[in-house]
Symmetry: C2
Subunit: 153 residues, 2 copies
């Protein structure tokens, strides 16, 4: 199963959240899972907010990177692009909305589901649902925009 982050060009693969070439970072992987997209993450013990729970900034980061990854998957699909190393589109975030419904327990694997709401030219809207212990803890919406392929090069 292809993770979009494995198909970003090298200069697009340095992100702390999802870059395969960032040894310090989370190295998030975003894949299709049926009609939706999926990523998983296991927090470290020190990713805490209030004891027992994950800090909200990490959850926002994961939704952000899963959102841009989902947007890139959607663009590739809509264009009929066959992904080969390293031809994936790359999106950045224009806006991010996060709703913390209930505290996210820190000892569980986190699963984030992405739903492609709209693809319009270079702009993609993605909704996210973040689960821990099979409980919906956080929801989000990101508006992602594709960048030119030589951006940041």
């Amino acid at each position: 199963m292809i993770a979009i982050q494995d198909y970003y060009a090298d200069h697009f693969a340095r992100c702390y959240g999802c870059g395969r070439l960032n040894a310090h970072g989370y190295q998030l992987k975003t894949r299709w899972n049926g009609e939706h997209t999926l990523t998983t993450f296991v927090p470290k013990e020190y990713h805490t907010s209030i004891p027992g729970f994950v800090y909200g900034g990490l959850l926002a980061s994961l939704i952000d990177c899963h959102g841009t990854g989902s947007a890139a998957l959607a663009l590739a699909r809509d264009r009929g692009l066959v992904l080969v190393p390293y031809n994936a589109p790359r999106c950045v975030t224009a806006s991010l909305q996060i709703n913390y419904l209930s505290p996210t327990p820190i000892e569980s694997e986190i699963r984030i589901l992405g739903k492609i709401i709209e693809v319009k030219g270079r702009k993609v809207i993605v909704d996210a649902e973040l689960y821990a212990d099979n409980k919906l803890c956080v929801t989000g919406r990101i508006i992602a925009v594709e960048v030119p392929e030589n951006f940041g090069k």
Copy 2:
């Protein structure tokens, strides 16, 4: 100048973003600066998104923690509370809205200004402006809610 995070009870001071007792984290400090609140942060070289720029998840994290810190300062002020170790109110985030206006350069100190928009009971709305190189790069709004003092204890 008092930083609100130095007045949180120990069990509220473990946050990766702003806990003085989290050795792995950012240890953000939120202070009054006239009518507004201020925090500063210097990103590491590996906090990158696209080369040269800070990854958006970190910026969301900083605005989140500066927002809850600003909310706690506002609650203390409105109640006429004299801050002593460790009697500060503690807020968590109900929702977070982030708008990325332009890429945030990674080699600059980040400054985040907080503006208290509304205090209503245990709920506080805070707007944030994030600057790097004196340029407004990101704006945000958080809705923060005070938690009971034994929460997570």
